[in-house]
């Protein structure tokens, strides 16, 4: 009798297993269109980015940082088949004698005139803010105590220095003098310092950090305005 019951339970379990659906998750490529009208805005002039001067906490930076960010953006856009960009050399040549100032950002008429001079449909300009924020932190971990013959809780104090870059990017339509894109991109990175290395970091060069953060912010902007593929999960049912 027991055997019959066991067989019955086993058959029941097997039947239930057979009824259930298993699911396979697959990644599929989905095309994400540009957030701007790429048929209209197909060629750009990228002007050097300007450092925001009103911000008190802005770090002291070499003046060529804005041009470096613009140069990274030009390279990123030039790689996209939908866009044409005025080269860095050509931009420098056409801007000879001019210095891009912060008040240019609000002067769309002037930017539009520059765009006509560059013979482009849109002008990309922007500003950046770079600052650091340091806070004491405590790291809790375990260390082996020889005296107690076991691991004990221990902590270590350190300084966490966070670098923040806020990059504002604008696209100005040359024909209509309208701002068609105005977005800010914030990127940050953190370092852990002892007292010695913290003092050194305060006086040391930060150009590489801002370059890296700028590259990441610019990549995000380029991705938004270019058609691209992203992976998305879908479910296949067995």
């Amino acid at each position: 009798m027991k055997i019959v019951r066991r067989i019955g339970i086993l058959l029941g379990i097997l039947a239930l297993c057979g009824c259930s659906n298993t699911v396979t998750r697959v990644s599929i490529p989905v095309k994400v269109e540009s957030e701007i009208d790429i048929t209209r805005y197909s060629n750009f002039a990228v002007l050097p980015f300007v450092s925001e001067k009103q911000v008190e906490r802005n770090e002291k930076l070499p003046p060529e940082v804005g041009e470096e960010i613009a140069s990274v953006l030009r390279r990123g856009l030039a790689r996209q088949k939908h866009f044409e960009v005025v080269s860095t050399q050509e931009t420098a040549r056409l801007l000879t004698g001019e210095t891009v100032e912060e008040d240019w950002l609000s002067d769309t008429k002037h930017l539009s005139q520059l765009g006509e001079y560059f013979e482009v449909k849109a002008v990309i300009i922007g500003s950046f803010r770079f600052y650091s924020d340091s806070r004491p932190r405590r790291y809790y971990g375990e260390r082996y105590s020889v005296r107690r013959q076991r691991y004990v809780l221990d902590y270590q104090d350190y300084m966490q220095k966070t670098y923040l870059l806020s990059l504002r990017v604008m696209i100005v339509d040359v024909e209509t003098e309208q701002i068609v894109w105005d977005e800010s991109y914030r990127r940050s990175t953190a370092e852990a310092h002892t007292i010695g290395s913290f003092i050194f970091s305060q006086v040391g060069p930060q150009a590489n950090t801002i370059r890296e953060l700028g590259r990441r912010a610019v990549a995000e902007f380029t991705r938004q305005i270019s058609p691209h593929y992203e992976s998305e999960d879908r479910y296949l049912v067995n």
């Binding site: 659906n21 699911v23 396979t24 697959v26 599929i28 490529p29 989905v30 095309k31 994400v32 269109e33 998305e232 879908r234 479910y235 296949l236 049912v237 067995n238």
Partner: protein, 135 residues
């Protein structure tokens, strides 16, 4: 006489059983075939061979047009190939056949959101609920 009767009964039961089993075998042959196609197509999809997967799922649908799994999976394959209109039609069919399946609803919703993001006119996409994947 009793022995003959008993054998006669046994023989009729045996014939009946054989007839039932053969019927089951015919049905199960189709089920096994569609399951095999489905499994193969999923393997192909995992290897990103979407055209092969589409071919197999179409075969499943030609055998059993009411197979909701095949319609859903075909929708995924169409979406991967960029045929969004056909993908939506397949997801809709799967959801019609099994309206309570959370995976069909999830795929359908995501496809419509993607359609909306890529400039298609699908205002209702965001109003569809995202079904929870955990019970």
């Amino acid at each position: 006489m009793i022995t003959v009767l008993r054998y006669g009964q046994l023989a009729s039961i045996a014939i009946l059983l054989c007839w039932m089993l053969s019927g089951c075998a015919i049905i199960s042959r189709d089920v096994t075939r569609t399951e095999a196609y489905n499994r193969f197509a999923i393997k192909a999809a995992e290897a990103q061979l979407w055209n092969e997967a589409v071919f197999r799922w179409k075969q499943v649908i030609s055998i059993d047009p009411e197979d909701s799994k095949a319609h859903n999976n075909l929708g995924v394959a169409y979406e991967a190939l960029g045929n969004i209109d056909e993908a939506i039609a397949s997801y809709q069919r799967a959801a019609e056949l099994k309206p309570n399946n959370k995976y069909y609803r999830l795929n359908y919703r995501r496809c419509r959101i993607h359609l909306r993001r890529s400039g298609g006119n699908d205002e209702e996409a965001l109003q569809l609920d995202e079904p929870p994947l955990t019970e």
